[in-house]
């Protein structure tokens, strides 16, 4: 495949046909941003419960402590944030009235709040509540938000609808952070009552309010009468049901027991598209999946880097050979029935910062072989690949194993359950780890923590002064073009060094019943059900 076609392909992929770019197999299907659930223009009728099948049990429903993607899927309908994203992933105000006013060389951020928002316990949402929430995010023991808000030095209430954040230095990704859990505002009354057990009965501003939770089973929300935009809300409530098995999630949508099911396996998409009992919504995600190679993590994350004594860890040329041995298209076809988007950067096509000119390395077994020969390494070159335990992980691992073998690598697939793998990777006790990232709106969220020296998710042990300097600078610069240019440079450098070989960007598939309308499903992968309901 000629190179320009590939670049074009990625563009096309994000709009329509992924499999048109793949090599054979699989019928054409949407794998892009076209379908956000808005194509069905029937009106939703008022009333009725919607049941949504989640693939995992969320963790604590406390915006300060929560750490999972699946938790955000519940929050999105229950806890509004200062800012949100729209379908183009542009930041828009939610509990604020406009985007923040940034002054003082980026060190002062002024936020104006809506004056009609009421918590679901009837209390008024105001600047004091925002301060209480942000301070809790920053200071509560075990908070998962401290990193998001690390740049914030203090939060000041100016008047009931104005809050000022003082930063230690400019921090461009801040607004994006405030469009996630760090920007969720919790009812001070409930915080007072429950303290660090807020997650057992969370109260926020949102279209639905929390009713009950059965751990591992279900979470029930009901329509919030006090919500400022309540007349837009159609359903009486939402039941989130945890169904970990993909087959069972599907079967439940087909039988009508569940109206919406998330994380439909790529391999099931073709079958479900033909099923009249199901509507499918495909949506590019913000994340990526790739292979992290340990190139310097000898004593654990945050410790000084050192020499890793494995063939791939030692030699950038062997890493290049490894990448050359892989065929992203075939991987996508075989493992995911062509339903994901192959890619070689951490920024997915859905991101405004995605660089469409990047050309991914084509598979070239001969070149890979000669690189191995030049390196003087004895063949087959041993590689130990740590990977998850799901059938999909194993399939991916075995395809990688099979492709790399042709170039002269002997890949040992070590399927390891997630917690064990994280333990080993953080301690630097791994060679190659197939791992990904669910993705963040701001590019910083997909790059900084993985490539900056000593950053918390830098399991590969990357430590490159140039990369560090550019990443730091990109945080300070407000201008989007300038930032984009910096990230492009960072990723060029990354592609030479190859601590991470990016493989593909997942496409999220949501299945709904035939009469479900009004579901908003963006690249962040969170089904917004504010206006959802059954068609009239």
């Amino acid at each position: 495949m000629a190179r320009p076609t590939r670049a074009l392909c990625l563009v096309v992929a994000s709009v329509a046909l992924v499999s048109a770019c793949g090599g054979g197999g699989g019928g054409g299907t949407s794998g892009g941003t076209t379908n956000t659930g808005a194509d069905d223009d029937r009106e939703a009728q008022a009333g009725g419960m919607l049941t949504l099948a989640l693939a995992e049990d969320p963790d604590a429903l406390d915006p300060t402590l929560a750490r999972t993607l699946v938790g955000r899927e519940v929050f999105v309908n229950m806890c509004e944030k200062l800012y949100d994203v729209d379908e183009k992933l542009e930041l828009v105000p939610q509990l604020a009235t406009e985007l923040p006013e940034v002054t003082d060389e980026g060190k002062t951020v002024t936020i104006t709040l809506r004056d009609d928002a009421v918590f679901n316990d009837g209390e008024k949402m105001d600047a004091a509540a925002v301060k209480t929430s942000l301070d809790r995010h920053r200071e509560l023991e075990g908070s998962a938000r401290t990193g998001d808000l690390a740049a914030v030095e203090s939060v000041e209430v100016v008047d009931p609808t104005t809050v000022v954040l003082r930063l230690t230095e400019a921090y461009a990704p801040l607004t994006a952070q405030l469009a996630d859990r760090a920007g969720m505002v919790m009812s001070p009354k409930q915080l007072q009552a429950l303290g660090d057990k807020f997650g057992t009965d969370p109260v926020c501003v949102g279209p639905f309010s929390f009713v009950s939770r059965t751990a591992g089973s279900e979470i029930v929300l009901e329509k919030a009468p006090d919500y400022y935009d309540a007349d837009q809300v159609k359903a009486d409530g939402i039941t989130y049901r945890v169904i970990t098995d993909g087959n069972v999630r599907q079967a439940n949508v087909k039988s009508g027991d569940v109206q919406i099911a998330e994380r439909i396996a790529a391999t099931d998409v073709a079958t479900l598209e033909k099923d009249p009992a199901v509507k499918l919504i495909g949506q590019d995600s913000l994340g990526y999946q790739g292979i992290s190679i340990n190139i310097g993590n000898v004593k654990g994350i945050g410790q000084p880097v050192g020499e890793v004594d494995t063939p791939l860890g030692r030699s950038p040329e062997l890493r290049e050979a490894f990448e050359l041995s892989l065929d992203r298209e075939t991987i996508n076809q075989v493992v995911f029935a062509g339903k994901n988007v192959p890619g070689c950067t951490p920024l997915p096509p859905a991101s405004p910062f995605h660089d469409e000119d990047v050309e991914c390395t084509e598979r070239d077994v001969e070149k890979a072989k000669s690189l191995i020969e030049e390196s003087g390494e004895a063949t087959p070159v041993p590689v130990k690949l740590t990977i998850g335990t799901s059938p999909e992980n194993l399939r991916l691992g075995q395809v990688i194993q099979s492709q790399a073998k042709e170039a002269g690598f002997e890949v040992e697939v070590a399927s390891t359950e997630f917690a064990s793998a994280l333990d080993a990777s953080d301690a630097g006790d791994f060679e190659v780890f197939q791992v990904g990232w669910s993705g963040r709106i701001d590019p910083d969220g997909n790059i900084y923590n993985f490539l900056h020296t000593g950053a918390p998710l830098n399991i590969s042990g990357t430590s490159d002064p140039e990369i560090d300097a550019m990443l730091d600078e990109a945080r300070l610069v407000e201008d989007e073009q300038e930032r984009a240019a910096l990230y492009t440079q960072v990723l060029e450098k990354e592609a030479e060094l190859r601590p991470i070989i990016y493989l593909y960007h997942p496409v999220n598939y949501l299945a709904t019943g035939p009469d479900v309308v009004g579901v908003e499903y963006y690249a962040d992968g969170l089904p917004r059900l504010k206006t959802a309901g059954l068609a009239q």
């Binding site: 057992t200 751990a215 591992g216 069972v248 079967a251 439940n252 917690a419 064990s420 998710l457």
Partner: protein, 318 residues
């Protein structure tokens, strides 16, 4: 009798205590820890440290254990590290689910196993006997989880007869509850029915040839009353004691059956707990399970020794 009772209760308590230590040390031997599994994708060293501090994971294990023991003796099993919910509440929510599943499976097992066993014994060597035998062996040989998958595929997906999975509380929707519990109960119940059938058959054969049954026969009682009154009653006693020991097997089976049918019971709770390193949950669930097992077997032993005093003399239950 009193001293036997005391000794039996004493050893049960000892087993419980040992089990709690084994579980406590065991969960900490899992690679990775609660903090890491909790932080997952979004982990950073500072946050991990805070979580460990919050849950007291930095203290020496014996210190942690003593604290845990003290709390749990007062009925406080701690809070789930993953969801932040009270472990006691979680257990109280889940226990009825697994108990319901166990009871239904037991019903399935008894309904199939007992009559099949009786018939097989009465018609020894006939096709009924052979069929029951074959069924019993198949029941023991087919893996639960495969049977579950096949049943979901056929009954729910292909024929659309029953909902594929999920759980609704009985009090909310009795019919929906039973519809959803039927397949899992069948899956769990078949294995049990196989065991019961075999037990029942051999117990019947044994009692039928026992002296008192022969006496009853020679007294001219009808075959029907011989079977019903004498043989059956005495066989059931044997089977009931076996049932106690099957509790563990039922819970084992529930682990995977609940996983397949997505039933929020004990088995699923403990497997999820292992994968998410939710120490308090694993500990709580394991303790309750072990307690249930020890307690049931204590009851079985005591009933047994009450019925058959020789057991006490001849060196305890084997």
């Amino acid at each position: 009798m009193a001293s036997y009772l005391l000794r039996r209760v004493g050893t049960s308590a000892l087993v419980l205590l040992l089990a709690s230590i084994v579980v406590f040390v065991g969960v900490r031997a899992l690679p990775g820890d609660a903090a890491l599994a909790l932080a997952g994708e979004e982990r950073d060293p500072a946050a991990l440290e805070q979580i460990r501090e919050k849950y007291g994971l930095n203290d020496p294990v014996p210190v942690q254990y003593v604290r845990y023991l003290g709390n749990s003796l007062q009925g406080d099993l701690g809070f789930s590290t993953r969801t932040g919910l009270d472990v006691t509440d979680i257990i109280l929510e889940r226990l009825p689910v697994t108990l319901e599943l166990a009871l239904l499976s037991l019903a399935v097992g008894l309904l199939i196993g007992i009559p099949a066993g009786i018939l097989a014994a009465l018609r020894r060597g006939s096709w009924v006997d052979n069929a029951s035998n074959a069924f019993g062996l198949l029941g023991l040989s087919i893996p639960n989880f495969w049977l579950g998958l096949v049943l979901i595929l056929l009954v729910s997906v292909q024929w659309g007869l029953l909902p594929a999975s999920g759980y609704v509380p009985f009090l909310e929707d009795p019919l929906g509850n039973l519809q959803r519990m039927l397949l899992p109960a069948i899956v769990l119940g078949t294995g049990l029915s196989a065991v019961l059938m075999r037990q029942m058959r051999s117990a019947m054969l044994e009692t039928m040839s026992a002296d008192y049954v022969r006496t009853a026969r020679s007294k001219g009682l009808s075959e029907r009353s011989v079977v019903l009154v004498h043989a059956l009653r005495n066989s059931l006693v044997t089977v009931v004691t076996v049932l106690g020991l099957q509790l563990g097997a039922l819970i084992s089976g529930a682990v995977i059956t609940e996983q397949i049918f997505v039933i929020p019971g004990f088995g699923k709770l403990i497997v999820d707990g292992v994968f998410t390193r939710d120490y308090p949950v694993i500990q709580g669930v394991a303790l309750v399970t072990v307690f249930g097992y020890v307690f049931v077997n204590l009851l079985v032993d005591l009933t047994y020794s009450f019925l058959n005093p020789r057991i006490r003399v001849s060196g305890g239950a084997s």
